[in-house]
Amino acid sequence: MLSVKDLAVSFKTRLGDVNAVRGISFDLAKGEILGIVGESGSGKSVTSYALMRILDAGGSITAGHATYSGLDLRRAAERDMRDIRGREISMIFQNPRAALNPIRKVGYQIEDVLRQHARATRYDAQTKAIEALKAVRINEPEARYNAYPFELSGGMCQRIVCAIALACDPRLLIADEPTTGLDITSQKAVMDLVRDLIRQRNMSSILITHDLALAAQYCNRIVVMKGGLIVEQGDPVQIFTRPEHSYTRKLVDATPRKGESIRSLLPPENRQAAPNHVIHDTVLLDVRNLVKTYQGKSGPVQAVKNISFQVRKGQSVGLVGESGCGKSTTSEILVRLMDATSGEILFDGQDIAQIPSQGFAKNRLRSEIQMVFQDATDSLNPRYTSRHTIAEPLKQLDKLRGQELAARVEELASLVGLPFSLLDRFPHQLSGGQKARVSIARAVALEPRFLILDEPTAALDVSIQAVVLNLLVDLRAKLGISYLFVSHDLHVVRLLCDHVIVMKDGQIVEQGPVSTVMNTPKADYTKSLLAAAPQPPTRRQSV
C-alpha cells in the first residue's frame, strides 16, 4: 500500500542545508501496523511529514520515491495531496489539546473535515460528526459536540483528534508520538483505542515513537532510525531478542524492563560492576500525616491528604503516581519550597515543617536537602555558564572563594562525568545529557544527605537516560545519599529503588519494598499501573 524507496528530505536553514532524512526505504502492507522508532534527531517525524507533504517552509524531498496506492506522493499536485490528506491518509500528533483549535467547538472541527472531503452536507454534518465521536468511544457524544477543547481532559482531547483523523475513513493513519506526555494509564487507553479502531476498519498504520517497548507492544513490524537512516527492520520479538545492528542493541539494552539490572541498561563495554549502596537502620526522614490544601477556583483542593512514610539513611525510595496524584506537591514540600498545611517532617529528628519556606534559604539545613528538577533546560539559568551554576551553592552556602572554589567545581565536574571544556558553556550550547549532569553536579555540590529527583530523565533520550541513571547509582554509593526518586516509569523505579510508594489522588495507596510491591501488588490501582506499562518481549521469550 505504501512504498518508500531511498527517500531523502532536507531543510534549508540559515546555517546551510540540514539533511534530516538521508535515504530510507520501507514498505507498508495493508492492515499492517509499522512502528518507526528513534531518538530525537533521527528523522522519524520528518519522514511522516514528508509523506504527507506538510513539511515546514524550507523543507523538501530531495531524492527517492514514495508511492501510495500507485500515487507518487513526491510529485503529486498540491490539490491532489489536499484531497488525500484526511481522506486517505490521516495523522494524529502529540499534545492533543494544542492540536485543536482553541476557540472553535470540537464538533464543528470534525464537521469542517467532513465537509471539506464532501462526506457530509450542511444538513447532515452534525449527525455525522456525532457518529464520529461515538466511534472513538467518547461518552455523551451529543454534549461533547458543543464543547471547546479547554473544557476537555487530555485523554478526551486525544480522542477528538482521533475522531477528526478517522472521520473520513482513511486507509492509513500516521500517529506521531501520540502518547508522549500522557500518563501510563491514559497511554494504554489511547493506544488500545487506536489499535482497536485500526483493526475494526482494516486500516494500516505507522506509529512513530521513541519508546521501543511501546512499539513492540502495538506494532507488527519495527523500523529503527538513527541520524536520518534506517539501521534495522524486523518484527518486535526479533528486534528485542536478536538485534543485529549495534545501535538497535544499544536501544534495546537501554529500555528498562522487568528482570534486568541497572547496569544492563548500558552498552556491554561500559558495564563495570554496580557498586553496592549501604542502607542503614536509622531513619533520616520521617514524614507524618502530611496534608496540603490550597484554594482552588471552586473551593479548597486537597492536593495531599494525610500521607506518612519514612526514608532511611542511604535508602532509595521511589514515589510513583500519575499526574495529579500529589507527588510533585509532596516533593516541593519536602524540599521546603512550599509549606504544608499540617503534618510533621522530621529530618534527623528535627521537624523542618515548622521552619517557614520563605526563610529556609538561610537555614543551616538548606544544604542537606536538595533537588534535581525534571526539565534540566528549565532548571538552568540561561545566562549562567555551567561553572557559574555549579559554583553558586558553593559560594552561597559553603562560602568558598577563588582557588578553592574553582578546584571544587572541577572536582564535581569529574564526579558527574562532565568534561572541563563544557564548564564555560551556556545551557543552550549543551546537549540534554550534559545539562542533566550540570543539574546533578549542582545538587550534590554541598553533599546533601537527602536528594529528591523529580523525574530527572523524563525529557531525555533512552540511551542518555541509561547513562544518567547509572551515574545516579554511582553517586549514591560514593556519597551515601538517600534518594526520593519521583517517577511515572515503573520499570526505572524497579531498577533504581529499594522501597516504593504508590500515590493516587493525594493518598498513599500502597508502599513497601520494591520487589514485593512490583511482583505481588495488593492494591487494585498498583495492579492497573503495572498492567498498563508496556511489556517488551524479554530475552527468555526467544522462539
Binding site: M91, I103, V113, E151, V161, A165
Partner: protein, 345 residues
C-alpha cells in the same frame, strides 16, 4: 452547556467592576491636576481679565476656603451634575463646548482608524503568509518607519506636497470651505449629516477636507496595527492546531481565515484599544495642523490662553471616553473568546 453562561457573566461583571476603581482614580487625578497649579487656583480659573469680585466668586464656588477633602466632594458633586466649569474664552460651560466639538474629533479618528485597519490588517496578513517576500519586507519597513513618523510633521509635509506643490488638496482650514454651509446637525458627523439631507455638494466638500487629516492620522495608527496583525498571524500559523488542520486536508482559505485569522483577531483587538489611545493623543496634533475644530484643538487653544477649566475638562473627558472604550473592547473580547471566565491563558 448552559453552565457556560454563568462563568462568562461572572467574567463580564468582574470586568465592569474593575472599571469602577479606575474611574475613581481618574477623577482623583483630575482633581489633583486642578489643584496642583502653583499659587491661587481661583486666579487661574477666573482668568487674566478678572477683577477681585469675580475671583472671590470663583473661590467660593470651588470651595477653595474649605478643607481639601470637602473640595474633592464638591468637585465630584459638580461632575455628577455635568458641570466641568466655565470656559474663559468661550464663556460657555466646558461641557457644552466639548459636546459641540466632540463629533468633529470622532469623525476624524474613526475615519482614520477605518482607513488604517483597511490597509494594515490585510497587509499584516499577507506579510505573515508570505514570509521573506517583498510584501513582508515592505510591511516591516513600513512598520519601523511608521512608528518613527512625527504626526505633526507628516501632516505638514502632506500639506506641502498636495496643497502647495500639487494643488490637489484643499487648504487646511478646517472641516468645510467657506463656500459651503454646515449641514443640518443630526449626528454632528458632516459626512453622515450631509448624506441625510441629502446635499451631495456639501458632502463632497466635507470629504475633501477630511482626506488629508485622516491620512495623516491613519499613517500614525497603521504601523502598530500592521505589526500586531503580522505577529499574531505568524504565531497562529505556527500553532499545532494549524498543523492538524493541514494534515486533515482543509483548504488554504479555510485554514487561513477560519482558523488562523480568527485566532489572531484576539490580540489584534486588544491592540486596537491601545492604538485608539495613541490616536486620541495624536488627534490633538493633527487638529492643530489642519485647523480642525475638534476637542484637541479646543484644548490647545485653551492652553495658550491659560483657560484651565477647559484644559482640565478636556483631560477628564478624554480619560473617561477612553475607559469606556477599553471596557467596550474587553467586552467584545469576552464575546469572541470562549475561554474567558475559565482558565486564563
Amino acid at each position: 452547556m448552559a453552565a457556560l453562561k454563568y462563568p462568562r457573566l461572572r467574567a463580564v461583571s468582574l470586568r465592569v467592576a474593575q472599571s469602577v476603581p479606575v474611574v475613581i482614580g481618574v477623577v482623583i487625578i483630575s482633581f489633583i491636576l486642578t489643584r496642583a497649579l502653583p499659587g491661587d487656583p481661583a486666579v487661574y480659573f477666573a482668568g487674566a481679565a478678572a477683577d477681585e469680585a469675580s475671583i472671590q466668586e470663583i473661590r467660593v464656588s470651588l470651595g477653595l476656603d474649605k478643607p481639601l477633602i470637602q473640595q474633592f466632594f464638591i468637585y465630584v458633586g459638580d461632575l455628577l451634575h455635568g458641570d466641568l466649569g466655565q470656559s474663559i474664552s468661550s464663556g460657555q460651560p466646558v461641557v457644552k463646548d466639548l459636546a459641540n466639538r466632540l463629533p468633529a474629533s470622532l469623525e476624524l479618528t474613526l475615519t482614520a482608524l477605518i482607513l488604517s485597519c483597511g490597509i494594515a490588517i490585510p497587509l499584516g496578513v499577507l506579510a505573515a503568509t508570505r514570509p521573506g517576500s517583498w510584501i513582508d519586507h515592505m510591511c516591516r519597513v513600513l512598520v519601523t518607519a511608521g512608528v518613527s513618523l512625527p504626526t505633526f510633521f507628516t501632516g505638514i509635509i502632506l500639506i506641502y506636497m498636495f496643497y502647495y506643490l500639487l494643488g490637489i488638496a484643499p487648504p487646511p482650514i478646517g472641516r468645510l470651505d467657506f463656500i459651503y454651509l454646515d449641514p443640518d446637525r443630526v449626528t454632528g458627523f458632516y459626512l453622515i449629516d450631509a448624506a441625510l439631507m441629502p446635499d451631495w455638494d456639501t458632502w463632497r466638500g466635507a470629504a475633501k477636507q477630511l482626506v488629508l487629516p485622516a491620512i495623516t492620522l491613519a499613517l500614525f495608527t497603521l504601523a502598530p496595527i500592521a505589526r500586531m496583525t503580522r505577529a499574531a498571524m505568524l504565531t497562529a500559523l505556527s500553532s499545532d492546531f494549524i498543523r492538524t488542520a493541514r494534515a486533515a486536508g482543509l483548504s488554504n482559505r479555510k485554514i487561513l481565515y477560519g482558523y488562523a485569522f480568527r485566532n489572531a483577531l484576539l490580540p489584534i483587538i486588544t491592540t486596537l484599544g491601545m492604538v485608539f489611545s495613541f490616536a486620541l493623543g495624536a488627534n490633538v496634533l493633527v487638529e492643530k495642523v489642519f485647523a480642525w475644530p475638534g476637542i484637541g484643538s479646543y484644548a490647545v487653544e485653551a492652553l495658550v490662553v491659560s483657560d484651565y477649566a477647559a484644559v482640565q475638562g478636556f483631560v477628564l473627558a478624554m480619560a473617561l471616553l477612553f475607559v469606556a472604550l477599553n471596557l467596550a473592547i474587553d467586552l467584545l473580547y469576552t464575546v469572541i473568546d470562549p475561554r474567558i471566565g475559565f482558565a486564563a491563558k
